[in-house]
Symmetry: C2
Subunit: 306 residues, 2 copies
């Protein structure tokens, strides 16, 4: 078992899908990442910030699952970040109704001393310069640094993004972002160009078409997406994937290709659970048996004997 | 080993991709289907038509691979069907420059007596009413009837299409077509509605995202697409998939779910070979060793140990 530090946003989310509507629930990337990782048996340590209006019961959701909150600042002068979004009928498009950064606008992360011996560092999708600051605060570099990012940073802060990518081992982006970042349409060519930035592994997420894994030494793996009957709320599926991935790596304490392949499945499992209920609801309650059964579903979905 | 009858278009194709340009080469669906099937050890029997201008050397390409051409009419009064198309730089879009149906406009297929004991019937993508006529000419229904179709028939002859679908066991369409045919966006819901038309299996092709298999009794399988470095010409990839699929089923002589899963891989293998060269070029020359090696690539791409 290895130690896992997670950095990412903590926010209020208000979500509307064809299946219903939530008030301000616990959201941002880090609750999804942390809960998914904790379901794999690790006790992640979180770096984040909330405002003066964040309810203690929301923090308790995380701490009750073993998430260490020492690195979560409470900004007494600002409100918590807030995001509101609505999905279309087919759930394939999302419109952001509101994004208030609030306390994240001036967030200066501090990695506590007790986090210093982290083996795995999972950087959720935030400003690349903040991700970089967090990496630089580690006196000893974690063995594996995983970074999630998105097209927004490719458009707005490409230089900082490039610098940060060059400091990490694993990057997770979606297929369109891989094409944008590399300038290559064919995913294999895109992957080679992006890996050349110094990565060990690149994960290309393809939504309901699964995910691809590419290694610097030319290996490849294709994970399917589970064929779900009903997607209630896709919010946080990518973050749950990241949490399942990082949690599995930390739980196994290994970073070889075979382990990373299975970590992709762990991520896919967590992403699939996430979609079945609103927000982090499902990630809070799933059991080890449910996880095992779902891994079996992934095996059944892909295995064949020629 | 079971007997396989294939029906489908025979044509001249003129193809332009960023990698080059062909004159009128052997094309239409049936050469891809037949050659892919013959690579799996079966000697398919073909039902089709060509005009008075079709070179014997093109027919020899098929007969030299063991394809029985007794059911291929030569229409002395018409020219051969002709299709010309050009791909964009990213190969993700194709523009049809010309479609001349010629001898296919008045084609009335005749299933020869020697084809009557077919076990597997593969109907390539042609007019549903022609597909229906072919089925009806069998005195004894083949054990497995596989039908390929496309959105064009959903738009133009939906009733004939519906009638023909209700006569077959396996339907192959792409994801957008599955949504159109069912009126359901979520693929699992679309699959259930389409299977309810009386199919045993539905195959949903997702291009470079692989293919999904759904069975009437609720089983599912997800096949990845091979991650290819270079796609030289995607023309006929879907037909090669159909040929590999039907050829594998005929070669094994079984139609259970495990066999059909592997048949999907056989189809994916043939589709991947097809894309690497222009037209049917690669399907004419690949060896058993190359096929085995590629099946292994598919295994490596999807296998994991949790």
């Amino acid at each position: 078992m290895n130690k896992l530090v997670i950095a990412g946003s903590l926010a209020f989310d208000a979500i509307e899908t064809p299946f219903g509507k939530t008030d301000k629930i616990i959201g941002g990337a880090s609750p999804y990442i942390s809960l998914a990782a904790s379901q794999l048996g690790v006790k992640p340590q979180l770096v984040s910030v909330v405002g003066n209006d964040f309810p203690e019961e929301f923090l308790n959701i995380l701490s009750s699952k073993g998430v260490d909150l020492e690195g979560v600042k409470i900004d007494k002068n600002n409100k918590t970040m807030f995001w509101a979004g609505i999905y279309n009928e087919d759930m394939n498009q999302r419109t952001t109704l509101k994004t208030e950064l609030n306390c994240f606008e001036t967030f200066s992360p501090e990695v506590p001393e007790s986090y210093q011996d982290a083996d795995v560092l999972m950087l959720g999708n935030i400003t690349p310069s903040i991700q970089k600051t967090i990496i630089e605060q580690f006196k000893q570099r974690p063995k594996m640094i995983i970074m999630d990012t998105m097209n927004f940073w490719m458009d707005t802060t490409p230089n900082e993004l490039e610098e940060t990518i060059r400091m990490v081992d694993v990057l997770t982006i979606n297929d369109e972002e891989a094409r944008q970042l590399s300038g290559e349409f064919v995913l294999l060519k895109a992957a080679k160009k992006i890996l050349a930035k110094g990565l060990k592994y690149l994960i290309i997420k393809k939504g309901d078409n699964g995910a691809l894994l590419f290694s610097a030494d030319g290996k490849m793996f294709s994970a399917p997406a589970l064929i779900l009957d009903t997607v209630v709320d896709p919010t946080g599926a990518g973050d749950s994937f990241a949490g399942g991935f990082a949690g599995y790596i930390a739980a196994k304490g290994k970073t070889d290709f075979e382990t990373v392949k299975s970590a992709i499945i762990a991520g896919s499992v967590m992403g699939s659970f996430c979609c079945e209920k609103f927000g982090t609801e499902n990630l809070q309650v799933i059991t080890e048996e449910q996880i095992k059964a779902r891994v079996k579903q992934f095996e059944d979905l892909t295995s064949f004997k020629f």
